[in-house]
Symmetry: C2
Subunit: 342 residues, 2 copies
């Protein structure tokens, strides 16, 4: 039997509103009876959710009111300074106090990161928290970090990302020593810039299962579980994937709706096309972890629907069960970064 | 009637050997009688090609022997220093002497760039030549540069790339003022690093049709014709596309071969699937221009087949007709980079 975990859900974030979060919460409670949830939101939203739940889940579903909401386009510093009772902040405070083992929000990424850093603090030995996400690959997902929190990383930062990514990928894939690669312009040692080459040298001595430089196509094909990069490069890579996947899906739709014959073809091939769409479904990869903090924080995509939000909650549950932050802390301590550099 | 142009083809580059280049050459001569070609290669290869051509094209097809071949994994500096009679070098010399208006090679990219810089020299006002390539997008192709020649660019370099990209995209898309975007981690002015923000400021005053920052997904969706980036970021983006497109194509194949029913579905849907594959066919986008040189040099993918190689030759023909290097020279002079900075 799995240990009980409690996840706090920010009901107010995202473009689709609280309905999605509440529906995902009830589905999660139905599916997994080892999970408790705390819904955080404006009182009127919680009242509606409470009515919807019909008291079915007893103490497994709690409601924590918050009086403010961080807007999707609100500057992070303003949210941090002026919205001390936002749903996002209250959810993070629940993680800090230990009332929740993790929290999930579809809210403004910058505000979530800034508030999480302030409330939870970064782990000892970590200079900068990062954002890590799974992407589809030929043999199961690859974990990429940093995908957008940090621009202008040093070699030391990239090394820290590698430690954090190794723990998250190990937990999620359930493997002992995930293979770690550094995203670069080529595979030879002389390729890339000074920072990447220095990070490669640090990684080679890190004790991690470092496999070397990986190119953009290697994210999907190389035998690699974690791909480490500066946040600018990682962000461009992951958004390029999103864009191309969207383009291909538009092309697919167009070709199967071009005329009546093609529509018939689409019907005839519907099970294969359905299976294909399911494999490419971005909702299966929703949920990026803000990693390097004293606590587990999941960022769900702003446009996440119920299925996508549930995926993020599932990731939070696994990380909570495995105690990812504690593992990272121990790994950092054990490898003692200072020694590596010396 | 179009003006006659002469293209030199390095018959020795690429993984598939001279057969592909010769077949593409003969197909080009059949298709377009305003094009003359010079095949450059080892004498025995040229003899076979000559036999294959059966004298059909008269003086439209010439043969230029070279005694050496640059290996695909040869260090660029070694190729430059020791292989002064390589097919690649001889093809570039034909461009320099004016005997050819452009050249196309599937050879070693690093060696081609190093040799091209040495033989042709960079254009006045250009510090670093770049590599530009078309990628598929929702409304016609987007041109991306730099996709791998330069790591660690300054804002000034990015500005120069924008001028060069604007000319190439304008020529290929036949538009007056192509829309230019800067690849970045977000669209707001404060996003990215110092270099990208400074490049944005330079571009805003450049006289180019600058539309601002573009994110990874914007390559396919934003109303943009040219996307400018550092070579490391551009290379990661384009290789990520290659990898994801390959992954999706594997998934598609798998789903339509999973069992007999699915195979029947594939047959039933074959015209739509065929059309889809054609739209995604990387051979339609083969051929990256080494831009910023005193001459036109096309790099065809090492694994290019005949169709793909022909695409690269077609690009070379358009750039030769339009005189891309002269246009770039004039644009740089007109905008007088120095003034912009002052």
């Amino acid at each position: 039997m799995s240990a009980k975990v409690t996840i706090a859900l920010d009901a107010m974030g995202g473009d689709l509103g609280a309905t999605v979060v509440v529906a995902a919460a009830l589905a999660t409670l139905e599916r997994d009876d080892t999970v408790n949830l705390v819904l955080v939101g404006l009182p009127e939203v919680l009242a509606r959710a409470q009515a919807q739940a019909k008291g079915n889940y007893g103490t497994r579903l709690k409601f924590q009111p918050a009086s403010e909401v961080v807007a999707m386009d609100e500057p992070p510093a303003e949210a941090l300074r002026h919205k001390k009772d936002s749903s996002m902040r209250v959810a993070l405070e629940l993680v800090k106090s230990g009332e929740a083992d993790a929290c999930v929000s579809s809210g403004n990424t910058g505000a979530l990161m800034a508030t999480a850093r302030y409330v939870l603090k970064t782990l000892p030995g970590i200079d900068r928290p990062a954002i890590i996400s799974a992407v589809p690959a030929l043999r199961g997902p690859t974990y990429m970090l940093d995908i957008g929190a940090n621009v202008g990383c040093t070699a030391e930062h990239l090394l820290q990302f590698a430690f954090m990514g190794s723990v998250i990928a190990g937990d999620m894939l359930d493997v002992e020593r995930p293979r770690v690669g550094l995203l670069n312009i080529g595979q030879e040692d002389i390729k890339g810039n000074e920072v990447i080459r220095e990070a490669g040298a640090l990684l080679a001595r890190s004790g991690l299962n470092y496999i070397g430089f990986v190119e953009g196509d290697g994210i999907f094909y190389a035998d690699v579980d974690v791909v480490v990069s500066d946040g600018l490069v990682g962000n461009v890579a992951i958004k390029t994937m999103e864009g191309l996947a969207g383009l291909l899906s538009s092309f697919l739709k167009e070709e199967f709706q071009r005329n009546s014959l093609r529509k018939l073809q689409g019907l005839a091939a519907s099970s294969a096309l359905h299976a294909l769409r399911a494999r490419l479904d971005s909702r299966r990869y929703n949920g990026a972890t803000l990693v390097g903090l004293n606590g587990i924080v999941l960022k769900s995509h702003g446009s996440a629907d119920q299925v996508a939000f549930e995926t993020a909650v599932k990731t939070a549950i696994v990380e909570a069960r495995k105690g990812a932050p504690v593992q990272i802390g121990k790994l950092i301590e054990k490898q003692s970064l200072e020694c590596i550099r010396a």
